[in-house]
């Protein structure tokens, strides 16, 4: 009995130092934010609990616009990343010769931080960037300002490019790992029975990798939904993505504005938790599929 107890409790005891920091800081910060979002912030004299701030934020046109913009950027970038990533993974799988180089190169963007990705996009695509300069010098455009505005633009193209550059390799890596572990015999049997390559892809490979495509889609969607630095560096003045909006509200020197920040943060937290839930559901689905 005591041995069972021992093995059951031991991991938790070993985890205490890490948990103290994680739970102490994370959970207490979350609780503090929740309390402030209800308008209780005693240091500056706000002492009433109210739903007023939630009501005001949720009916604010500006907030809804930001929510839509965040959602739109995450969705577009994630969908494109998944499609291109899968194609990339499949084509790496098909070209079996120069695998070592390809495996190395396509993984490079994954280790480069997002801020650097933003800087790259800025250097390449802003109107004073490298690409417009080349276009101008070879005479495709008459002046650099004729180059379409790809960064700081309202449709968020710059942000999406930066995300794609980071996320396509990520999807490709995840999918490639699964693809290369699929039993070759399945493919060979299909080919033997007269299926062509396209049919093999659509009817054998794709169904097998679908669960991992879906779960990695959720990962990158949730990430770009909550990310701050890329939209801050490459985004337009309006609309702002939700994390950027929360930051601007947070740095407002008028402290009575703080509850608004916390309401936005709570909404962001809620959406993230929702994603985690969907993610764990997907895994249940995967295990059902495999079992």
């Amino acid at each position: 009995m005591s041995r069972i107890l021992n093995t059951k409790i031991k991991p938790y005891i070993l985890l205490i130092p890490a948990l103290t920091i994680l739970i102490g800081i994370f959970i207490s910060g979350l609780i503090m934010g929740l309390v402030q979002s209800f308008g209780y912030f005693s240091v500056i004299g706000l002492k009433d609990f109210t739903l007023k701030y939630y009501f005001e934020v949720l009916t604010d046109k500006d907030f809804l616009q930001s929510l839509r913009f965040s959602f739109y950027i995450s969705l577009i970038s994630s969908v494109i990343a998944v499609i291109v990533g899968v194609i990339l993974a499949y084509s790496i799988l098909r070209s079996r010769h120069k695998k070592s180089i390809e495996e190395f190169i396509y993984k490079l963007p994954i280790i480069v931080p997002h801020t650097i990705a933003a800087l790259l996009v800025y250097n390449l695509f802003s109107q004073s960037g490298v690409v417009p300069r080349i276009f101008y010098n070879i005479g495709i455009i008459d002046s650099q300002s004729q180059f379409p505005s790809l960064v700081f633009d309202r449709v968020g193209i710059g942000i999406i490019i930066a995300y794609l550059w980071k996320e396509i390799p990520f999807i490709a890596m995840v999918v490639y790992t699964i693809l290369s572990n699929i039993n070759d015999k399945l493919v060979e049997v299909a080919l033997n029975l007269g299926a062509n390559n396209r049919q093999v892809f659509w009817h054998i490979l794709l169904p097998l990798i679908m669960p991992s495509i879906f779960s990695s889609f959720i990962i990158i969607f949730a990430f770009s939904f909550g990310a701050f630095e890329v939209p801050y560096l490459l985004g337009p003045t309006t609309p702002k993505t939700l994390p950027v909006k929360a930051y601007i509200e947070y740095t407002n020197p008028d402290l009575t504005n703080r509850p608004y920040t916390m309401v936005i943060n709570m909404i962001l937290t809620f959406i993230s938790v929702l994603f985690v839930w969907i993610y764990s559901r997907t895994f249940k689905l995967i295990s059902k599929y495999n079992g």
Binding site: G24, S128, S149, T237, T238
Partner: protein
Amino acid sequence: MKKKFLSILLILVLASSLVGCSGNKKIEGNVLEKSWEDILAEAKGTTVNFYGWGGSQKVNNWIDTYLAKRLKEEYDITLNRVPMNIDDILNKLLGEKQLNSQEGTIDIVWINGENFYTAKENELLFGPFTDKLPNFNKYIDNNSDEVKYDFGFKVDGYEAPYGKAQLVMIYDKNKIDTIPKNYKELLELAKKNPGKLTYPAPPDFTGSAFVRNIIYDIVGYKQFMNMEPDKETVEKAIKPAIDYLKELKPYLWREGKTYPATISQLDNMFSDNEVLMTMSYNPNHAASKIQTGEFPDTTNTFIFDNGTIGNTHFLAIPFNAPNKAGALAVINFILSPEAQASKYDPKNWGDLPVLDNNKLSDSEMSLFTDVKIGKGTLPQQYLLDHRVPEMPANLIPIIEEIWLENIPVEGE
């Protein structure tokens, strides 16, 4: 079983994290009741933590080399500069106050404007301390509005002046022949060069100041000095200026649909010839950028005929500063003619001095007259003659909000 255990653990950890924060309270005698000699003696051999904006290499260099070195020599004080944005500093202090922590980590804060207003209103500062400083009493004109008020808000001795700044506009003599003398001529210039002008979006500090300057140029500044911080009142008062900015918008960079997020971005665009003009709240900005080669040699500075906004930046001591005596000694040294003159030299920083020229002896005065101002800057006297006061701090977030609601939004 597992769940029960986890929840008990959670509660324990949470409780301990709350208890752990109420640390030891060291109550010392009030440093302000001591004599200046005692304060200096107490400060000797200590470390002073200087927190403030660290975004300018020049400013950092001046503090790290000149200031830190001289403090070590004069008072045996070690200066520890911690670069941190003011909103982070305020949040840190606020957190410490929330937890009732009597001993913080910050001794001096570089602060002003709405941040000072917030800090003082929420009792995050120690003071009043300025009348304790010998150099403050000797060299500062404490009747001047620029010392008594910070963005229209009473200082009451809770912060000591550090330096002065003024909004200037920067252009390239080779690209613009006649500089605009007011808002009307600025619009003309924009019409002649569509897509070549812009300003940083508020709440960027400089962009916000530029918007206020346009407001001043159109509706004057006097009415704002006592204005109620009420959105409707402000909106009514600045309506002509907002209309003007709307009129200007289609001729701006990217047709005013988007704006540079920071002043550094605008500076880069100016260096890259993407726009014709940049701006700065530091009158010596052009000179230092010419020096580093980022701006062309033909860069020059101008201001509107009706003047531009100037302000004073300050140093304050947090309520829970662990080394208040050291902080007082450091601030006092910064107010010496020697330190102010070194700070004024564009080679070092180029920050305008805060001392009252009438109170300086001839030899002290020559410290300042000997300083060579840099290329592309305006003479000191010209700036001072064209200087208008900052708006009360509590109006600024309102104006930024109105700007954001009216100017960059789509569809008008």
